[in-house]
Amino acid sequence: MKQFLSFVKKEFYHIFRDKRTMFILLGMPIAQIIIFGFALTNEVKNAKIAILDHSKDAVTASLITEIESSRYFEIEESLSSDKEIEAVFHKGIVKLVMVIPAHFGEDLQHFNKAQIQLIADATDPNVANQLTNYASAIVMDYQKRITYERKLPYTINTEMRMLYNPQMKGAYNFVPGVMAMVLLLVCTMMTAITIVREKETGTMEILLVSPVKPIMVVIAKAIPYLLLSTINIFSILILSVFVLEVPINGSITLLLGVSILFILVSLALGLLISAATETQQTAMFISLIALFLPTVMLSGFMFPVENMPTPLRVVSNIIPAKWYYNIVKSVMIKGLGVSAIWKELLVLTGMLLFFLILAIKKFKIRLA
């Protein structure tokens, strides 16, 4: 036991004395939450648009005011001829041009029918899609308002309700994603690197020629990272609740419990990588390429798994982060209990056992 404690103490010295790593370990989750929270978002806000109004009457004027006052759009330019449309897209600032034909107001009044053309820069299809949707929604809203006085027969109104995330905040999606990513990075990569470092600097050689049991080396190395990761979970949760206003709807204990399970899976993976590699560079490379990228791509955090082709969907099942991501979404956002996540829990536990047994089996008690 004394052996073990002095080993853990040594690991803490290594971490605390390497200020840069320490800073990355504790700062990364905070930076990620802030970056994802405020900078990287696919919600469209204040998109620059241009308007070509051939009609210039009272109706178009009020429609334009309507658009201007929405938080999605900012009118950058008012065009005066069709020729200018192409030119304005070339400049690249304006992403959408709204073309209102001549006699718009008159047509609307006399024929109960008028047309508006939306021209979008579809180099980024998602943005183009969103912009046209927002613009049509505003036009529809406006139409509803002006037809309110005149009772029309047969109108179908769609009533929408966004469950679990009424404001459609991106944070509800990325907080669980960032949690999975950070835990995986800290636990897997750092444990892998620290064990491999002992091999690289030759200290492993001395440790092997000592009464220390390999399993003890491995566990002593994992403990500081388990602790740091727990701190990271807390900082992520605190930030997301108080800064991003993402509530924790389910049980916090359950959330922490599953997080620790996921941490253990990541640690076991790190051990496995360290057992199989000889240099810190390889360890880092494998952690990044074989783990980090698939985690980002296939866990469902960036791209929905449901929309992927079958082979990728099958592959996504072996990614631990996918299961953890689902659990966090269910517990944190939807507020569900164990009964809803037992399948994911079972999968993660199975992965933990599998990686751990493999890691211990692969741990070399000799140099080669």
């Binding site: 004394k2 052996q3 002095s6 080993f7 040594k10 010295y13 290594h14 004395r17 390497d18 600097t201 030759g202 200290t203 050689e205 001395i206 440790l207 092997l208 020629v209 000592s210 009464p211 220390v212 008690i365 000799r366 140099l367 080669a368």
Partner: protein, 306 residues
């Protein structure tokens, strides 16, 4: 009982096509309380041998015991009892001198106080720097710290793999003094070195070249085996001189040795012949003298005979 016993150890690296033989049928015995030197140039197989004896590597064939324990079967027992100092400085550079020592004491289930007597002479020299990080120590001090750490659990056998490589001459001398002190405490020491001059400081040496044993003997015994007369020759224009000497058929071998050329004669009567031959040649700053062979001369001869 021998402290270390090695029988027919063979170790190869690599796959079939590019197989490299690191150790080729090595056998030797080390008595208890001996300083046993493995002498050989880089690539001779010294480190492989050390790693096999410290249970870090498996030999392809052959057997070895340390302190009566089998290096394969009794892996755990051996790891408790031996002290090992690898060729590369392998302590924690970001831990201080004291923390390193404390750590190794604890993992060997002992404490600094318990065996302080053993390391005292060595440790007092680095104690003034005990709060300095190990990475910031000079080469000689690192060596002393590494030795202290390897000794902290009072090992019965101490393995030192090239402990003096990269250490200055004064520290090297000090280091060997320390080894003598440890020997007096009854610790068996297996030490490897590429420096031939250190061979004399061992009780027994094994000359190793390309994985093969050239000789196992006491340093004096090795030198005694060198039977041919040996001359040291010096003159202006060393390179032409060497060519000239090599061309003579009374000369068995000639090679540069420090500021002289060492010339190995075939027979005793060749000595005078060489002297007169060279005096006739009218060389500038000419000097010739009879010298005692040292380990390096023996090594070179044994190597060429192989």
């Amino acid at each position: 009982m021998s402290a270390i016993s090695v029988k027919n150890i063979i170790k190869t690296y690599g796959k079939k096509k590019q197989k490299v033989t690191a150790l080729n049928d090595i056998s030797f015995d080390v008595n208890e309380g001996e300083i046993f030197g493995i002498i050989g140039p880089d690539g001779a197989g010294k480190t492989s041998l050390f790693r096999i004896l410290t249970t870090l590597l498996l030999a392809d064939s052959g057997s070895a015991t340390v302190d009566g324990l089998d290096v394969i079967k009794d892996l755990k027992e051996i790891r408790k009892k031996v002290g090992y100092m690898p060729g590369r400085f392998s302590l924690y550079q970001d831990l201080t001198v004291e923390e390193n020592l404390q750590f190794f004491a604890t993992i060997f289930n002992t404490s600094i106080n318990e065996n302080y007597e053993l390391i005292k002479d060595i440790y007092v020299q680095i104690e003034p720097f005990k709060n300095r990080r190990a990475g910031k120590l000079s080469g000689g001090m690192k060596q002393k710290l590494a030795l202290s750490c390897a000794l902290i659990h009072r090992p019965s056998v101490l393995f030192l793999d090239e402990p003096t490589t990269g250490v200055d001459a004064v520290s090297r001398k000090e280091f060997w003094e320390m080894l003598k002190g440890l020997k007096a405490q009854g610790i068996t020491i297996l030490v490897s070195t590429p420096y031939m001059d250190e061979a004399r400081l061992c009780d027994k040496v094994l000359l190793l070249q390309k994985g093969k044993v050239l000789s196992i003997n006491t340093p004096d015994g090795v030198i005694k085996d060198f039977e041919n007369p040996l001359m040291a020759v010096k003159a202006k224009g060393m390179l032409p001189l060497l060519e000239k000497i090599k061309a003579m058929d009374i000369v068995k071998d000639a090679y540069p040795f420090g500021e002289y050329h060492h010339v190995v004669m075939k027979k005793e009567e060749n000595v005078e012949q060489l002297k007169s031959n060279l005096t006739k040649a009218d060389l500038k700053e000419f000097e010739i003298k009879r010298v005692e062979a040292d380990i390096e001369d023996c090594f070179i001869q044994l190597m060429k005979e192989e």
